[in-house]
Amino acid sequence: MSNLLKRNSSVEFTLAASDKLAVYSKAPANIYTKGNYPNFVSSTTLLKLTEADIEYVSSAVSIATVVVIEAGNQDVYYNAGTAPVITERRGLRGQGAPVAANTTGAATAAVMISGMLSGIITTTVAAAVTGTLPTFTELEAAVELAVGESFDWAVNSVTGANAFTVAASTAHTVIGTMAVATVTSGLFRTRKSSATAYVTYRLA
């Protein structure tokens, strides 16, 4: 996750030795280095005027360096480190350990919720597995989604000879082909469609 600097504002921080600085904005942003010398008023030197819409990554600084970023008319994302990138521009997301649902009995509402929110459900379908989606009420208790928000998750069928089928539940409907064939993966999107309902779509 990058840091966010609001438009028309500035931030000052210390870049550690050997670190680089990545900056992105839809408007040019000024990057200064700040120097402090005995008996002199501290001063800044323009390091880079970034281009709008172009992600800038500095060279590594040789010593700890105080930098100042000034945003223009658009917010600025920035990140520091040995290999900084603006993660928000790469669709990065958290991904903890996937959750296994290897039998219909194991695919409880709690397991399905945990797996969906983790991002990946794995399955070894020695026998056909039905993964029943959590009901609207169950999902509401687990995640604070606004109407019109959604999240994606996948079913990864790793071995076995059967299908994993995602099934609808109370106030949680499905659209698309919901059977994930063995040794394939299916991508789904769960969307809060109203104050009382969710819809899960098969995306791929």
């Binding site: 996750m1 997301r93 929110l117 991002g119 604070e144 928000e149 999107r189 779509y201």
Partner: protein
């Protein structure tokens, strides 16, 4: 959507009774609780400090509680509620009503920007909007992209077709019956887009 708190700053929020508090930051975040007793100046008690890079969810608060969140050298995301999660770390995105294209016609920028396009019964030739029309429909920089899915729920297939100008397709453009496919639309130059098939 979670709330965002900038680095080296603080915010005071009221957590309702029975609510939990979820926090994520790449640095340590300190959460303190305001406490007050009669005839004593109000003070703060440290409730907990989070671990850098680890999403933390508190237990439910038994009563309405005023807490202060203080960030370190990185911004923090936080959310309160009965089931709070840091939605930004789970790829939460806006998903309005999907676009619908049930007959041969234009697969408009609005349809694919919705994120999902559904298509029923007929055989459909879905012609992408031209690069010029795409430029007018959204503010994308060169090198930016977005993903969208097509769900063919009825019989027959849907074929994504290049526009007359400025919008080509790379990969198998056919979404067969009773299947879903994922595409990525990328701006490569002014008024020029390429849509890639990225998954079946």
């Amino acid at each position: 959507m979670s709330d965002k708190l900038n680095r080296n700053s603080r915010v005071t929020v009221t957590i309702a009774a029975s609510d939990k508090l979820a926090i994520y930051s790449r640095d340590i975040v300190k959460v303190t609780q305001e406490v007050g007793y009669p005839n004593i100046i109000p003070g703060e008690t440290v409730l907990f400090s989070t671990v850098a890079g680890v999403e933390y969810t508190s237990d439910a608060f038994s009563v309405e509680t005023i807490v202060t969140i203080e960030t370190g050298d990185y911004s923090a995301l936080y959310q309160a509620g009965t089931g709070p999660v840091i939605t930004e770390r789970r790829g939460i995105r806006v998903q309005g009503t999907p676009g619908v294209l049930d007959a041969t016609g234009t697969l408009t920028a609005a349809m694919i920007l919705s994120g999902i396009v559904t298509s029923a019964a007929a055989t459909v030739a879905a012609t992408l909007d031209t690069g010029t029309v795409m430029d007018a429909a959204l503010e994308m920089a060169i090198g930016e992209s977005f993903d969208w899915s097509c769900i063919k729920v009825g019989a027959n297939s849907l074929t994504v077709t290049a526009a007359a100008s400025g919008h080509t397709i790379v990969g198998d453009p056919v979404v067969v019956t009773a299947s879903s496919s994922l595409f990525r639309t990328r701006k490569t130059a002014a008024a020029t887009y390429i849509t890639y098939r990225i998954s079946i």
